[in-house]
């Protein structure tokens, strides 16, 4: 016993020494952190004696099982990336909003695409009617992508793109735009969502059936492992699962089960786990139940580290670290008394920060009514700036770690998740569970229960089922230019008459034969976009070869 104690103690000393060394290289924001009363703020709160139980459950930040965070200094070293999801209307308009947000101190971009782009239709497709530029920016070809990223230095700014079924196409466009800026694909950094399983489960922007979809994903893994080393090739997303009405435990469980499916698929194609696992990222929801949310994020890290180590034998620390983006819960925003949403967002964002998020999107108060106005988008960004700069919660690592309640909740969520994973394993894994509609049913049940609780008043939603106002003021809302679709179609028609049509057809046929075979499709798609093939044309070829998913 005595020697064991000493071992843990020496492990701790080692960690301290390593951390000091790291700080020499990457200094913390301040020499010393103090409270208003002049009390020193420790980098890490911890028990006097570290025992086996502590080391197994919590460990040290930056070390397995990463419960307390993936870096030893966390936000004392660097604040999370403030990444506001934005995009609407035309590429030019969105480019203006991006530059506005960067001027306001945002540190990363996050692109919202309109639904036709996300589902692989051009703006002039019959299916695109009414949807062009509505929930995001309309991108038909490289032309639009160039306008979207004009004057944004792609070697400095990292960009997250919420794109799934056609992720390869948009990533290819990003690579080519960077190339035109003189930035090589080795230098660019960012994330594509690229998580098709949760599209079948909860979000709905699928195109192809699961099997070819998984191939597109693993093609991206393989291509990026070799040529785009700083790109996060997938953002395995619980966000939408939660928005669809799941519980926190289900959000975690289904996301991690999907993660397992992607790792399995990549290994099956012959990739080595340590070659692609460091580029897997996650995306969670920051919801209402503050303490459970904090515990959820901490549990997520521990569970993933265990799975990667024990199930897959991953060796690299980066393969074991669950890095995640958080967006606060859009579904908790009320259309009634929208100013109250600022307060909801603050609490949810604080949970994400206390849970150790790597990047954060805070919602705007008017999102239950429309896309945010410039004013409401700014308040949303300010909310996280206030947490980062004024609240002081960033001065110490994992401040809630060691709380009896939080640790207990973290353990219980972990147990829930492993139960679900066993069940899903028994069904043959996440892909087959999705095909059987298992997750969809579980989520629907939970969401209906919540609705009933809200309607009975058991769950209070301030301003909506209690503390209502008789006369709701009507706020100013953001409007999309109703002429946009017409303008976008004109632009597309011009492109179709000015580009080299022979090259376009040749590229598309190369893609078709690639799709029939087994070669990696990424280089073929890059060639297509370089010659101005459109999103709709590329996805059209793939639709013909792969078929379409039609739901269950």
């Amino acid at each position: 016993m005595e020697t064991e104690k000493k071992d843990f103690q020496s492990q701790f000393e080692e960690w301290k020494a390593l951390t000091e060394k790291l700080i020499e290289k990457f200094p913390e924001k301040k020499e010393a952190f103090k409270t208003s009363s002049g009390i020193d703020i420790d980098r890490l709160g911890h028990p006097d004696h570290l025992d086996q139980h502590y080391m197994e459950k919590l460990g040290l930040p930056g070390q397995y099982p990463y419960t307390r965070g993936i870096q030893p200094t966390m936000y004392r070293g660097r604040t999370w990336t403030m990444r506001q999801y934005a995009g609407f209307g035309s590429a030019e308009e969105t480019n203006r909003r991006f530059r506005y947000l960067l001027d306001q101190g945002q540190t990363g971009l996050s692109v919202a695409f309109d639904l036709p782009t996300q589902i692989g239709y051009d703006s002039d497709d019959m299916m695109a009617k009414g949807e062009v530029g509505k929930v995001g920016v309309a991108i038909d070809s490289l032309d639009d992508m160039e306008a979207l990223l004009r004057d944004i230095p792609l070697d400095k700014v990292s960009t997250s793109m919420t794109i799934n079924a056609p992720a390869s196409v948009l990533l290819a466009m990003y690579i080519v735009v960077a190339e035109k800026q003189g930035v090589s694909q080795e230098q660019i950094s960012g994330t594509i969502q690229n998580d098709i399983l949760k599209e079948y489960i909860a979000r709905g922007t699928y195109i192809f059936p699961p099997k070819p979809s998984m191939r597109l994903i693993t093609d991206i893994f393989a291509y990026c492992a070799e040529y785009v080393p700083r790109w996060n090739t997938i953002s395995i997303s619980g966000y939408h699962i939660r928005e669809a009405g799941s519980t926190a435990a289900q959000e975690l469980a289904f996301t991690i089960a999907n993660g397992i499916a992607y790792v399995d698929a990549a290994i099956e194609t012959g990739l080595k786990v340590d070659d692609f696992a460091p580029r897997l990222a996650f995306f969670f929801n920051g919801h209402n139940q503050f303490l459970e949310e904090v515990a959820k994020f901490r549990a997520a890290r521990r569970i993933w580290a265990k799975i990667m180590k024990e199930r897959y034998g991953a060796k690299k620390p980066k393969s074991l670290q669950l890095r995640f983006h958080t967006q606060v819960a859009g579904s908790t925003l009320t259309a009634q008394q929208p100013d109250n949403n600022i307060v909801r967002v603050t609490i949810q964002a604080l949970a994400a920060v206390l849970g150790g998020t790597q990047s954060l999107h805070t919602n705007a108060k008017d999102e239950a009514l429309a896309l945010p106005t410039e004013d409401s988008a700014r308040i949303a960004l300010r909310t996280q700036q206030i947490i980062a700069n004024e609240s002081g919660v960033t001065d110490t690592v994992d401040p809630l770690g060691g709380s009896y309640f939080i640790e207990n909740l973290t353990d219980q969520l972990e147990a829930y998740v492993f139960d679900y994973i066993r069940k899903i394993d028994d069904m043959g894994g996440a892909v087959s569970a999705v095909e059987q509609g298992y997750m969809q049913r579980e989520i629907h049940q939970a969401s209906y229960e919540t609705q009933k609780k809200i309607e009975s008043g058991e769950e209070v939603v301030v301003g909506m089922n209690q503390y209502k106002l008789e006369d709701e003021p009507k706020p100013e809302l953001h409007r999309i230019d109703p002429e946009l679709q017409r303008k976008q179609i004109e632009k597309l028609e011009t492109l179709r008459t000015t580009r080299d049509q022979h090259r376009v057809s040749a590229r598309l046929e190369e893609l078709r034969s690639g799709a029939k075979g087994t070669s990696n499709l990424m280089p073929l798609i890059i060639n297509c976009v370089r010659d101005y093939c459109t999103v709709g044309e590329i996805c059209g070829i793939l639709r013909e070869e792969f078929g379409e998913y039609t739901g269950i």
Binding site: M127, G204, T205, G245, L369, A370
Partner: protein, 278 residues
């Protein structure tokens, strides 16, 4: 009576179907037959499905902002195909300023976020019955005696009789400031005794006691169709104190009938939120 049939549809490319699924289930639980189209339906597909399935109403859900284009197109296609009698309602993320436009295009009602699902069900039911000329009068009596209200000068003095002598269990004491009363509830069978103590001289209970002394003040009838019943009573010449329901203790919707129409008895209709329902 034939069950009302509703098609819940997702026009456009929007994949958010939490609301559509919840509404579909809630309408089913209300007793309707519901068909859900699934995602990504064109207006033509929706109209074809509605006609084939012979539905009474279509509920459209759209959260992507395409409602102004897609909803009216569905209504006009229905008309073109001689199915203009199908009632169309909608919901989703719909800015308030778009609602008058949609209503002018024949969408009968737009339900914005936060609408209780039952309101939607009741709206569709009424609209269908009105269209079909079905008599909507209520044939059912109220569900039960919810409680008997007894005016007392002091809860403290009155309670021991109920608690110690009758062995009733005191559930809660609540002040309803707007009504000028402090209320004690005790459960008895499926009903309750409700003791009412006046707060201040302006309280209606104070004037009741001054005029008539302590004693039975009102009888409350549980009713889950208050609005319909009030309308019907009023049409039949029954005098009402409240023409539409107001909020009472415990978040219930309540309305009083005038004692002149009930031989001197003050009746209350009350509909409590379902967690209170036993």
């Amino acid at each position: 009576m034939k069950k009302i049939r509703v098609l819940i549809a997702k026009p456009g490319l929007d994949g958010h179907d939490r609301g559509a699924l919840v509404i579909a289930q809630a309408l089913r639980d209300y007793g309707m037959e519901v068909i859900y189209t699934g995602l990504r339906q064109t207006p033509q597909q929706i109209v074809t499905a509605a006609i084939q399935e012979d539905v009474d109403a279509i509920g459209l859900s759209c959260l992507s902002g395409a409602h102004n284009e897609l909803f009216p197109e569905i209504v006009s296609l229905l008309e073109q195909r001689n199915a203009g009698d199908i009632i169309v309602v909608g919901g989703g993320v719909i800015p308030w300023e778009d609602i008058p436009f949609l209503e002018s295009k024949g969408i009968q009602k737009v339900f914005t976020p936060g609408t209780p699902t039952k309101d939607t069900a009741v709206f569709i039911e009424k609209a269908v019955y009105e269209r079909d000329g079905i008599d909507q009068s209520i044939k059912e009596p109220p569900k039960k005696i919810d409680h008997i209200g007894i005016a007392v000068s002091s809860l403290e003095e009155a309670l021991p009789f109920y608690v110690n002598q009758l062995h009733l269990k005191l559930e809660a004491i609540e002040e309803v400031v707007s009504e000028g009363v402090k209320v004690a509830f005790m459960k008895i069978g499926e009903s309750r005794i409700e003791l009412l103590e006046p707060i201040g001289e302006s309280s209606p209970i104070a004037s009741f006691i001054n005029k008539r002394g302590e004693g039975i003040h009102h009888i409350a009838l549980a009713d889950d169709r208050i609005e319909d019943r009030l309308r019907e009573l009023s049409e039949n010449g029954v005098k009402l104190i409240h023409e539409t329901p107001v909020k009472g203790a415990g978040g219930a919707n309540i309305a009083f009938l005038h004692p002149k129409s009930a031989r001197g008895v003050l009746y209350e209709l009350c509909d409590k939120p379902s967690k209170e329902a036993e």
